[in-house]
Protein backbone atom coordinates (compact mmCIF):
# COMPACT_ATOMS: atom_id res chain seq x y z
CA UNK A 1 0.00 0.00 0.00
CA UNK A 2 1.11 3.52 -0.75
CA UNK A 3 3.11 4.85 2.17
CA UNK A 4 1.78 8.38 1.65
CA UNK A 5 -1.63 7.19 2.85
CA UNK A 6 -1.67 7.24 6.61
CA UNK A 7 -5.04 5.79 7.54
CA UNK A 8 -8.50 5.54 6.08
CA UNK A 9 -9.78 8.56 7.99
CA UNK A 10 -7.10 10.60 6.28
CA UNK A 11 -7.62 8.80 3.00
CA UNK A 12 -11.31 9.48 2.87
CA UNK A 13 -10.80 13.13 3.80
CA UNK A 14 -8.23 13.55 1.04
CA UNK A 15 -10.47 11.78 -1.45
CA UNK A 16 -13.29 14.12 -0.53
CA UNK A 17 -11.14 17.18 -1.13
CA UNK A 18 -9.90 15.83 -4.46
CA UNK A 19 -13.40 15.19 -5.73
CA UNK A 20 -14.42 18.66 -4.61
CA UNK A 21 -11.46 20.23 -6.38
CA UNK A 22 -12.16 18.35 -9.57
CA UNK A 23 -15.83 19.27 -9.39
CA UNK A 24 -15.43 22.99 -8.91
CA UNK A 25 -11.96 24.08 -9.93
CA UNK A 26 -10.98 25.07 -13.46
CA UNK A 27 -7.78 23.08 -13.35
CA UNK A 28 -5.27 22.43 -16.11
CA UNK A 29 -5.76 19.03 -17.67
CA UNK A 30 -2.44 17.83 -16.33
CA UNK A 31 -3.41 18.68 -12.72
CA UNK A 32 -6.83 17.09 -13.17
CA UNK A 33 -5.17 13.94 -14.36
CA UNK A 34 -2.81 13.85 -11.39
CA UNK A 35 -5.65 14.43 -8.95
CA UNK A 36 -7.70 11.78 -10.63
CA UNK A 37 -4.93 9.24 -10.35
CA UNK A 38 -4.44 10.06 -6.67
CA UNK A 39 -8.19 9.79 -6.15
CA UNK A 40 -8.31 6.35 -7.71
CA UNK A 41 -5.42 5.29 -5.50
CA UNK A 42 -7.18 6.53 -2.36
CA UNK A 43 -10.44 4.92 -3.35
CA UNK A 44 -8.67 1.59 -3.83
CA UNK A 45 -6.98 1.97 -0.48
CA UNK A 46 -10.31 2.50 1.28
CA UNK A 47 -11.83 -0.54 -0.39
CA UNK A 48 -8.79 -2.57 0.57
CA UNK A 49 -9.22 -1.52 4.20
CA UNK A 50 -12.71 -2.93 4.17
CA UNK A 51 -11.46 -6.25 2.96
CA UNK A 52 -8.59 -6.28 5.40
CA UNK A 53 -10.57 -6.72 8.63
CA UNK A 54 -10.11 -10.26 9.84
CA UNK A 55 -13.10 -12.46 10.28
CA UNK A 56 -12.27 -13.71 13.74
CA UNK A 57 -13.63 -13.91 17.28
CA UNK A 58 -11.22 -14.07 20.16
CA UNK A 59 -11.41 -14.20 23.93
CA UNK A 60 -9.08 -12.05 26.01
CA UNK A 61 -8.36 -14.07 29.14
CA UNK A 62 -7.26 -13.04 32.63
CA UNK A 63 -3.62 -13.34 31.70
CA UNK A 64 -4.08 -10.97 28.80
CA UNK A 65 -3.81 -13.73 26.19
CA UNK A 66 -6.00 -13.98 23.12
CA UNK A 67 -7.57 -17.34 22.44
CA UNK A 68 -10.14 -18.36 19.80
CA UNK A 69 -13.73 -18.08 20.99
CA UNK A 70 -15.91 -21.18 21.25
CA UNK A 71 -17.40 -21.80 17.83
CA UNK A 72 -21.00 -21.81 19.08
CA UNK A 73 -20.80 -18.24 20.34
CA UNK A 74 -22.57 -16.47 17.59
CA UNK A 75 -24.97 -19.20 16.63
CA UNK A 76 -28.49 -19.85 17.80
CA UNK A 77 -28.97 -22.97 19.79
Amino acid sequence: MDSTIKDFEGAIAELESIVKKLEEGDLPLETSLQLYERGVQLSRFCHAQLEQAEKRIEILNERGQLTPAPSNLGTDE
Binding site: F8, I12, L15, L29, G39, S43, Q49, I57, L60, A69
Partner: protein, 461 residues
Protein backbone atom coordinates in the same frame (compact mmCIF):
# COMPACT_ATOMS: atom_id res chain seq x y z
CA UNK B 1 -40.67 8.27 95.28
CA UNK B 2 -37.58 6.20 95.03
CA UNK B 3 -39.38 3.61 92.99
CA UNK B 4 -40.69 6.12 90.53
CA UNK B 5 -37.28 7.67 90.27
CA UNK B 6 -35.54 4.43 89.56
CA UNK B 7 -38.04 2.74 87.43
CA UNK B 8 -35.36 0.52 86.18
CA UNK B 9 -34.63 -3.10 86.70
CA UNK B 10 -31.92 -2.35 89.16
CA UNK B 11 -31.10 -5.01 91.55
CA UNK B 12 -31.99 -3.23 94.79
CA UNK B 13 -29.49 -3.83 97.50
CA UNK B 14 -31.22 -6.14 99.93
CA UNK B 15 -30.37 -5.75 103.54
CA UNK B 16 -31.88 -7.51 106.44
CA UNK B 17 -34.32 -5.61 108.64
CA UNK B 18 -34.14 -8.21 111.35
CA UNK B 19 -33.53 -6.98 114.88
CA UNK B 20 -34.98 -3.50 114.39
CA UNK B 21 -37.93 -2.35 116.28
CA UNK B 22 -40.89 -1.17 114.30
CA UNK B 23 -40.77 2.27 115.85
CA UNK B 24 -37.22 2.95 114.95
CA UNK B 25 -37.90 1.45 111.60
CA UNK B 26 -40.67 3.98 111.04
CA UNK B 27 -38.67 6.81 112.46
CA UNK B 28 -35.64 6.03 110.45
CA UNK B 29 -37.58 5.00 107.36
CA UNK B 30 -35.58 7.40 105.17
CA UNK B 31 -32.54 8.35 107.07
CA UNK B 32 -31.76 4.90 108.26
CA UNK B 33 -32.14 3.27 104.86
CA UNK B 34 -28.75 1.80 104.21
CA UNK B 35 -26.85 3.79 101.64
CA UNK B 36 -25.68 2.28 98.46
CA UNK B 37 -23.19 4.70 97.03
CA UNK B 38 -22.03 4.25 93.47
CA UNK B 39 -19.05 5.83 91.99
CA UNK B 40 -19.84 7.73 88.81
CA UNK B 41 -18.04 5.10 86.85
CA UNK B 42 -19.96 2.33 88.49
CA UNK B 43 -23.24 4.04 87.84
CA UNK B 44 -22.34 4.79 84.28
CA UNK B 45 -21.29 1.24 83.81
CA UNK B 46 -24.58 0.00 85.24
CA UNK B 47 -26.47 2.34 82.94
CA UNK B 48 -24.42 1.23 79.97
CA UNK B 49 -24.93 -2.43 80.71
CA UNK B 50 -28.60 -1.91 81.04
CA UNK B 51 -28.96 0.14 77.84
CA UNK B 52 -26.84 -2.21 75.82
CA UNK B 53 -28.82 -5.18 77.01
CA UNK B 54 -32.19 -3.59 76.54
CA UNK B 55 -31.53 -1.81 73.20
CA UNK B 56 -29.34 -4.40 71.59
CA UNK B 57 -30.83 -4.12 68.13
CA UNK B 58 -33.27 -1.39 67.38
CA UNK B 59 -34.48 0.60 64.41
CA UNK B 60 -34.89 4.32 64.71
CA UNK B 61 -35.85 6.93 62.18
CA UNK B 62 -34.76 10.51 62.14
CA UNK B 63 -32.96 13.23 60.27
CA UNK B 64 -29.20 13.44 60.15
CA UNK B 65 -27.51 16.60 61.36
CA UNK B 66 -24.08 17.68 62.57
CA UNK B 67 -22.56 15.03 60.40
CA UNK B 68 -18.79 14.75 60.78
CA UNK B 69 -16.30 12.30 59.31
CA UNK B 70 -13.37 11.67 61.65
CA UNK B 71 -9.86 10.99 60.43
CA UNK B 72 -10.37 7.37 61.39
CA UNK B 73 -13.18 7.14 58.86
CA UNK B 74 -15.87 6.81 61.50
CA UNK B 75 -18.84 9.06 60.92
CA UNK B 76 -20.41 10.97 63.81
CA UNK B 77 -23.79 12.61 63.54
CA UNK B 78 -26.99 13.42 65.35
CA UNK B 79 -30.34 11.83 64.63
CA UNK B 80 -33.24 14.08 65.43
CA UNK B 81 -36.89 14.64 64.98
CA UNK B 82 -39.09 17.55 66.02
CA UNK B 83 -38.92 16.72 69.70
CA UNK B 84 -35.64 15.04 70.48
CA UNK B 85 -32.20 14.08 69.32
CA UNK B 86 -29.75 11.30 69.86
CA UNK B 87 -26.07 11.10 69.17
CA UNK B 88 -25.04 8.52 66.64
CA UNK B 89 -21.88 7.02 65.27
CA UNK B 90 -21.18 4.72 62.39
CA UNK B 91 -17.85 2.98 62.24
CA UNK B 92 -15.77 2.93 59.13
CA UNK B 93 -16.16 -0.81 58.71
CA UNK B 94 -19.92 -0.29 58.34
CA UNK B 95 -19.76 2.97 56.40
CA UNK B 96 -17.93 1.05 53.69
CA UNK B 97 -21.04 -0.86 52.79
CA UNK B 98 -23.21 2.19 52.34
CA UNK B 99 -23.93 3.00 48.74
CA UNK B 100 -24.66 6.61 49.57
CA UNK B 101 -22.91 9.32 51.45
CA UNK B 102 -24.12 10.34 54.91
CA UNK B 103 -25.22 13.95 54.61
CA UNK B 104 -26.91 16.47 56.85
CA UNK B 105 -30.62 16.73 56.24
CA UNK B 106 -30.98 13.17 55.09
CA UNK B 107 -33.91 11.28 56.58
CA UNK B 108 -32.85 7.77 57.44
CA UNK B 109 -33.89 4.64 59.20
CA UNK B 110 -30.96 3.44 61.27
CA UNK B 111 -30.36 -0.03 62.63
CA UNK B 112 -28.04 -0.20 65.59
CA UNK B 113 -27.54 -0.64 69.31
CA UNK B 114 -27.42 1.82 72.12
CA UNK B 115 -24.32 2.35 74.13
CA UNK B 116 -22.87 4.86 76.53
CA UNK B 117 -19.70 6.75 76.03
CA UNK B 118 -18.41 6.66 79.57
CA UNK B 119 -15.98 9.59 79.54
CA UNK B 120 -18.76 11.98 78.59
CA UNK B 121 -21.69 10.24 80.11
CA UNK B 122 -23.45 10.37 76.80
CA UNK B 123 -25.54 7.66 75.37
CA UNK B 124 -25.52 7.15 71.67
CA UNK B 125 -26.62 4.80 68.99
CA UNK B 126 -23.98 2.85 67.13
CA UNK B 127 -25.43 2.44 63.65
CA UNK B 128 -24.67 -0.73 61.75
CA UNK B 129 -26.81 0.16 58.77
CA UNK B 130 -28.58 3.17 57.37
CA UNK B 131 -31.34 3.32 54.83
CA UNK B 132 -32.42 6.58 53.33
CA UNK B 133 -36.07 7.03 54.02
CA UNK B 134 -38.52 7.41 51.20
CA UNK B 135 -35.75 6.99 48.65
CA UNK B 136 -34.07 3.68 48.04
CA UNK B 137 -30.46 3.53 49.05
CA UNK B 138 -29.55 2.55 45.52
CA UNK B 139 -31.42 5.45 44.03
CA UNK B 140 -29.68 7.82 46.36
CA UNK B 141 -26.30 6.31 45.59
CA UNK B 142 -27.10 6.62 41.92
CA UNK B 143 -28.10 10.27 42.22
CA UNK B 144 -25.10 11.17 44.32
CA UNK B 145 -22.59 9.45 42.05
CA UNK B 146 -24.24 10.91 39.00
CA UNK B 147 -24.08 14.39 40.44
CA UNK B 148 -20.47 13.99 41.49
CA UNK B 149 -19.28 12.64 38.15
CA UNK B 150 -21.29 15.27 36.30
CA UNK B 151 -19.53 17.94 38.33
CA UNK B 152 -16.22 16.42 37.36
CA UNK B 153 -17.25 16.80 33.76
CA UNK B 154 -17.24 13.10 32.98
CA UNK B 155 -20.55 13.36 31.12
CA UNK B 156 -19.64 16.46 29.09
CA UNK B 157 -20.64 16.35 25.47
CA UNK B 158 -17.23 17.56 24.39
CA UNK B 159 -15.66 14.50 25.98
CA UNK B 160 -17.67 12.26 23.67
CA UNK B 161 -15.61 10.77 20.92
CA UNK B 162 -17.06 9.67 17.60
CA UNK B 163 -16.77 6.05 16.61
CA UNK B 164 -13.98 5.36 14.11
CA UNK B 165 -14.96 5.81 10.46
CA UNK B 166 -14.38 2.12 9.95
CA UNK B 167 -14.35 0.04 13.15
CA UNK B 168 -12.18 -2.97 12.43
CA UNK B 169 -11.44 -4.63 15.74
CA UNK B 170 -14.38 -4.53 18.10
CA UNK B 171 -13.83 -5.07 21.82
CA UNK B 172 -16.65 -6.46 23.95
CA UNK B 173 -16.71 -6.55 27.74
CA UNK B 174 -19.56 -8.70 29.03
CA UNK B 175 -20.41 -12.09 30.43
CA UNK B 176 -19.79 -15.06 28.17
CA UNK B 177 -22.93 -16.70 29.56
CA UNK B 178 -25.33 -13.85 28.91
CA UNK B 179 -27.59 -13.04 26.00
CA UNK B 180 -25.65 -9.84 25.28
CA UNK B 181 -22.57 -11.50 23.84
CA UNK B 182 -24.70 -13.70 21.59
CA UNK B 183 -26.75 -10.76 20.35
CA UNK B 184 -23.68 -8.70 19.60
CA UNK B 185 -21.86 -11.50 17.79
CA UNK B 186 -24.97 -12.41 15.85
CA UNK B 187 -25.54 -8.88 14.54
CA UNK B 188 -21.89 -8.37 13.64
CA UNK B 189 -21.68 -11.76 11.92
CA UNK B 190 -24.75 -11.04 9.86
CA UNK B 191 -24.03 -7.48 8.82
CA UNK B 192 -20.27 -7.11 9.06
CA UNK B 193 -19.05 -10.52 8.07
CA UNK B 194 -15.33 -9.92 8.35
CA UNK B 195 -15.44 -8.02 11.65
CA UNK B 196 -12.73 -8.94 14.13
CA UNK B 197 -14.23 -9.31 17.62
CA UNK B 198 -12.29 -9.51 20.87
CA UNK B 199 -14.34 -10.47 23.92
CA UNK B 200 -13.19 -9.88 27.45
CA UNK B 201 -15.38 -12.02 29.73
CA UNK B 202 -16.51 -10.31 32.93
CA UNK B 203 -19.03 -11.07 35.62
CA UNK B 204 -21.82 -8.56 35.14
CA UNK B 205 -23.78 -9.06 38.34
CA UNK B 206 -23.21 -9.97 41.94
CA UNK B 207 -20.28 -9.31 44.20
CA UNK B 208 -17.14 -8.17 42.46
CA UNK B 209 -18.89 -7.64 39.15
CA UNK B 210 -18.10 -3.95 39.04
CA UNK B 211 -14.41 -4.53 39.63
CA UNK B 212 -14.39 -7.30 37.05
CA UNK B 213 -15.97 -5.05 34.44
CA UNK B 214 -13.56 -2.24 35.26
CA UNK B 215 -10.57 -4.55 34.92
CA UNK B 216 -11.97 -5.90 31.68
CA UNK B 217 -12.27 -2.39 30.27
CA UNK B 218 -8.67 -1.64 31.21
CA UNK B 219 -7.45 -4.88 29.69
CA UNK B 220 -9.31 -4.58 26.42
CA UNK B 221 -8.26 -0.98 26.00
CA UNK B 222 -4.71 -2.25 25.78
CA UNK B 223 -5.31 -4.80 23.04
CA UNK B 224 -3.58 -3.57 19.92
CA UNK B 225 -5.92 -2.56 17.14
CA UNK B 226 -9.12 -2.56 19.17
CA UNK B 227 -10.78 0.65 17.99
CA UNK B 228 -14.14 0.57 19.76
CA UNK B 229 -15.38 -1.16 22.94
CA UNK B 230 -18.91 -2.29 23.70
CA UNK B 231 -19.56 -2.78 27.41
CA UNK B 232 -22.83 -4.09 28.77
CA UNK B 233 -25.16 -6.92 29.51
CA UNK B 234 -28.68 -8.10 28.78
CA UNK B 235 -31.80 -7.11 30.68
CA UNK B 236 -32.36 -7.82 34.35
CA UNK B 237 -33.59 -6.33 37.60
CA UNK B 238 -32.17 -3.04 38.80
CA UNK B 239 -30.08 -5.03 41.27
CA UNK B 240 -28.73 -7.18 38.43
CA UNK B 241 -27.68 -4.11 36.49
CA UNK B 242 -26.21 -2.40 39.51
CA UNK B 243 -22.55 -2.99 38.70
CA UNK B 244 -22.98 -0.50 35.83
CA UNK B 245 -23.86 2.17 38.38
CA UNK B 246 -20.65 1.73 40.29
CA UNK B 247 -18.02 4.41 40.26
CA UNK B 248 -15.19 2.03 39.40
CA UNK B 249 -16.99 1.05 36.18
CA UNK B 250 -17.73 4.67 35.31
CA UNK B 251 -14.07 5.56 35.74
CA UNK B 252 -12.91 2.58 33.69
CA UNK B 253 -15.19 3.59 30.83
CA UNK B 254 -14.04 7.20 31.03
CA UNK B 255 -10.43 6.03 30.98
CA UNK B 256 -10.79 3.76 27.97
CA UNK B 257 -8.36 4.92 25.26
CA UNK B 258 -10.81 4.16 22.43
CA UNK B 259 -14.47 5.15 21.97
CA UNK B 260 -16.95 3.21 24.08
CA UNK B 261 -20.56 2.15 23.61
CA UNK B 262 -22.60 1.25 26.70
CA UNK B 263 -25.32 -1.33 26.22
CA UNK B 264 -26.96 -2.18 29.52
CA UNK B 265 -30.29 -3.98 29.79
CA UNK B 266 -33.24 -2.67 27.85
CA UNK B 267 -34.17 0.70 26.43
CA UNK B 268 -35.67 1.90 29.70
CA UNK B 269 -32.66 1.06 31.83
CA UNK B 270 -30.35 3.99 32.32
CA UNK B 271 -27.11 3.51 34.21
CA UNK B 272 -24.16 5.68 35.14
CA UNK B 273 -22.18 3.76 32.52
CA UNK B 274 -24.56 5.15 29.89
CA UNK B 275 -23.73 8.71 30.88
CA UNK B 276 -19.99 8.17 30.77
CA UNK B 277 -19.73 6.11 27.58
CA UNK B 278 -19.16 7.94 24.30
CA UNK B 279 -22.35 6.43 22.93
CA UNK B 280 -25.30 4.83 24.66
CA UNK B 281 -26.99 1.93 22.95
CA UNK B 282 -30.43 0.93 24.21
CA UNK B 283 -29.53 -2.77 23.95
CA UNK B 284 -26.47 -4.90 23.17
CA UNK B 285 -27.86 -5.65 19.69
CA UNK B 286 -28.27 -1.95 19.08
CA UNK B 287 -24.65 -1.38 20.09
CA UNK B 288 -23.54 -3.86 17.44
CA UNK B 289 -25.83 -2.13 14.93
CA UNK B 290 -24.10 1.18 15.65
CA UNK B 291 -20.78 -0.36 14.75
CA UNK B 292 -22.27 -1.84 11.58
CA UNK B 293 -23.81 1.50 10.67
CA UNK B 294 -20.37 3.12 10.76
CA UNK B 295 -19.06 0.45 8.44
CA UNK B 296 -22.02 0.88 6.08
CA UNK B 297 -21.58 4.66 6.10
CA UNK B 298 -17.95 4.22 5.26
CA UNK B 299 -18.76 1.94 2.32
CA UNK B 300 -21.42 4.31 1.04
CA UNK B 301 -19.08 7.27 1.34
CA UNK B 302 -16.24 5.72 -0.61
CA UNK B 303 -18.62 4.35 -3.24
CA UNK B 304 -20.16 7.77 -3.70
CA UNK B 305 -16.79 9.48 -3.82
CA UNK B 306 -15.54 6.95 -6.35
CA UNK B 307 -18.54 7.62 -8.58
CA UNK B 308 -18.16 11.38 -8.30
CA UNK B 309 -14.47 11.08 -9.06
CA UNK B 310 -15.18 9.17 -12.29
CA UNK B 311 -18.04 11.41 -13.34
CA UNK B 312 -16.26 14.70 -12.76
CA UNK B 313 -13.10 13.54 -14.48
CA UNK B 314 -14.93 12.25 -17.52
CA UNK B 315 -16.79 15.51 -17.79
CA UNK B 316 -13.61 17.54 -17.61
CA UNK B 317 -11.92 15.46 -20.28
CA UNK B 318 -14.94 15.82 -22.55
CA UNK B 319 -14.93 19.58 -22.03
CA UNK B 320 -11.24 19.80 -22.84
CA UNK B 321 -11.76 17.77 -25.98
CA UNK B 322 -14.50 20.05 -27.18
CA UNK B 323 -12.40 23.15 -26.58
CA UNK B 324 -9.50 21.65 -28.50
CA UNK B 325 -11.81 20.93 -31.41
CA UNK B 326 -13.02 24.51 -31.40
CA UNK B 327 -9.48 25.90 -31.39
CA UNK B 328 -8.37 23.65 -34.20
CA UNK B 329 -11.34 24.73 -36.26
CA UNK B 330 -10.69 28.42 -35.60
CA UNK B 331 -7.06 28.02 -36.54
CA UNK B 332 -7.81 26.31 -39.82
CA UNK B 333 -10.37 28.91 -40.75
CA UNK B 334 -7.95 31.72 -39.97
CA UNK B 335 -5.21 30.14 -42.04
CA UNK B 336 -7.49 29.50 -44.94
CA UNK B 337 -8.66 33.13 -44.86
CA UNK B 338 -5.12 34.45 -44.96
CA UNK B 339 -4.08 32.18 -47.80
CA UNK B 340 -7.15 33.20 -49.80
CA UNK B 341 -6.40 36.88 -49.28
CA UNK B 342 -2.83 36.44 -50.53
CA UNK B 343 -4.10 34.49 -53.49
CA UNK B 344 -6.50 37.29 -54.41
CA UNK B 345 -3.78 39.91 -54.12
CA UNK B 346 -1.55 37.90 -56.38
CA UNK B 347 -4.27 37.46 -58.96
CA UNK B 348 -5.05 41.20 -58.93
CA UNK B 349 -1.42 42.06 -59.38
CA UNK B 350 -1.11 39.65 -62.22
CA UNK B 351 -4.18 41.11 -63.91
CA UNK B 352 -2.93 44.65 -63.54
CA UNK B 353 0.37 43.62 -64.96
CA UNK B 354 -1.24 41.99 -67.97
CA UNK B 355 -3.41 45.05 -68.68
CA UNK B 356 -0.48 47.36 -68.36
CA UNK B 357 1.45 45.08 -70.61
CA UNK B 358 -1.14 44.90 -73.34
CA UNK B 359 -2.79 48.35 -73.46
CA UNK B 360 -0.07 50.91 -72.92
CA UNK B 361 3.21 49.66 -74.18
CA UNK B 362 2.38 46.76 -76.25
CA UNK B 363 4.77 47.53 -79.01
CA UNK B 364 7.43 49.54 -77.28
CA UNK B 365 8.35 47.48 -74.34
CA UNK B 366 7.38 44.00 -75.30
CA UNK B 367 10.96 42.99 -75.35
CA UNK B 368 11.72 44.63 -72.00
CA UNK B 369 8.56 43.26 -70.65
CA UNK B 370 9.62 39.74 -71.15
CA UNK B 371 12.60 40.36 -68.93
CA UNK B 372 10.65 42.45 -66.41
CA UNK B 373 7.86 39.94 -66.33
CA UNK B 374 10.27 37.18 -65.55
CA UNK B 375 11.81 39.22 -62.73
CA UNK B 376 8.47 40.16 -61.36
CA UNK B 377 7.32 36.60 -61.35
CA UNK B 378 10.32 35.41 -59.43
CA UNK B 379 9.88 38.30 -56.98
CA UNK B 380 6.24 37.56 -56.41
CA UNK B 381 6.90 33.88 -56.07
CA UNK B 382 9.47 34.61 -53.47
CA UNK B 383 7.05 36.81 -51.60
CA UNK B 384 4.27 34.29 -51.74
CA UNK B 385 6.60 31.55 -50.65
CA UNK B 386 7.95 33.72 -47.87
CA UNK B 387 4.45 34.36 -46.60
CA UNK B 388 3.69 30.73 -46.88
CA UNK B 389 6.75 29.83 -44.79
CA UNK B 390 5.65 32.30 -42.13
CA UNK B 391 2.20 30.74 -42.04
CA UNK B 392 3.77 27.38 -41.57
CA UNK B 393 5.96 28.60 -38.75
CA UNK B 394 2.99 30.27 -37.06
CA UNK B 395 0.86 27.19 -37.55
CA UNK B 396 3.58 24.98 -36.14
CA UNK B 397 3.92 27.19 -33.12
CA UNK B 398 0.22 27.26 -32.51
CA UNK B 399 0.19 23.56 -33.07
CA UNK B 400 2.82 23.02 -30.42
CA UNK B 401 0.93 25.32 -28.07
CA UNK B 402 -1.86 22.80 -28.00
CA UNK B 403 -5.01 22.64 -30.07
CA UNK B 404 -3.71 20.59 -32.96
CA UNK B 405 -1.70 18.52 -30.53
CA UNK B 406 -5.10 17.30 -29.51
CA UNK B 407 -4.92 15.05 -32.54
CA UNK B 408 -1.83 13.53 -30.98
CA UNK B 409 -3.94 12.44 -28.02
CA UNK B 410 -6.27 10.53 -30.25
CA UNK B 411 -8.85 13.10 -31.22
CA UNK B 412 -9.77 13.37 -34.87
CA UNK B 413 -11.21 16.18 -36.96
CA UNK B 414 -14.01 15.22 -39.27
CA UNK B 415 -14.43 17.33 -42.45
CA UNK B 416 -17.00 17.22 -45.12
CA UNK B 417 -15.96 15.70 -48.44
CA UNK B 418 -14.61 18.87 -50.04
CA UNK B 419 -12.95 19.93 -46.80
CA UNK B 420 -14.73 23.23 -46.53
CA UNK B 421 -16.33 22.65 -43.14
CA UNK B 422 -15.83 20.61 -39.99
CA UNK B 423 -18.69 18.35 -39.15
CA UNK B 424 -19.85 18.87 -35.56
CA UNK B 425 -23.42 17.75 -35.92
CA UNK B 426 -24.36 14.36 -37.29
CA UNK B 427 -27.56 15.78 -38.70
CA UNK B 428 -25.66 17.84 -41.27
CA UNK B 429 -24.64 14.73 -43.18
CA UNK B 430 -26.74 12.02 -44.74
CA UNK B 431 -26.08 8.36 -45.04
CA UNK B 432 -23.90 7.80 -48.05
CA UNK B 433 -22.16 11.17 -47.74
CA UNK B 434 -18.43 11.13 -47.92
CA UNK B 435 -16.53 12.61 -45.01
CA UNK B 436 -12.91 13.24 -44.51
CA UNK B 437 -11.29 12.38 -41.15
CA UNK B 438 -8.02 13.91 -40.15
CA UNK B 439 -5.93 11.97 -37.68
CA UNK B 440 -2.63 12.78 -36.06
CA UNK B 441 -0.87 10.99 -38.88
CA UNK B 442 -2.69 10.68 -42.11
CA UNK B 443 -6.25 11.13 -43.17
CA UNK B 444 -9.17 8.88 -43.96
CA UNK B 445 -11.91 9.20 -46.51
CA UNK B 446 -15.05 7.71 -44.99
CA UNK B 447 -18.59 7.06 -45.99
CA UNK B 448 -21.41 7.69 -43.56
CA UNK B 449 -23.47 4.55 -43.14
CA UNK B 450 -25.53 5.55 -40.19
CA UNK B 451 -26.12 8.58 -38.05
CA UNK B 452 -28.21 9.02 -34.96
CA UNK B 453 -28.85 12.68 -34.45
CA UNK B 454 -26.77 14.71 -32.08
CA UNK B 455 -26.14 11.96 -29.58
CA UNK B 456 -24.40 9.26 -31.57
CA UNK B 457 -22.32 9.55 -34.63
CA UNK B 458 -21.50 6.54 -36.73
CA UNK B 459 -19.32 6.24 -39.76
CA UNK B 460 -17.49 3.58 -41.53
CA UNK B 461 -14.40 3.35 -43.73
Amino acid sequence: MSNSLFDLPFEEPQESDAGRDPGSAIRDSVAAEPRRVYSVSQLTERIREMLEERFFEIWVEGEISNCFVAKTGHVYFTLKDAGAQIKAVMFRSDVRYLRFKINDGLSVVARGRLTVYDPKGEYQIVCQHLEPEGLGARQLAFDQLKERLAKEGLFDARRKRPLPALPRKIGVVTSLDGAAVRDIVKVLRRRYANAHIVIRPARVQGDGAALDIARGMAAIGKVKGVDVVIVGRGGGSIEDLWAFNEEVVARAIAGCPVPTISAVGHETDVTIADFVADLRAPTPSAAAEMVVARKDDFCARIDRLGQRLQATFQMRVAMRGRRADDLAHQLLRALRGRIARRERAYQALLLKLERFDVRRRFDVIRARLAAVDGRLRTGIDRRVHGADARFRATAARLDSLSPLAVLGRGYAVCWNADRTAIIRDASTVDSGDKVHVKLERGELDCTVTNHEGAETRGFDH
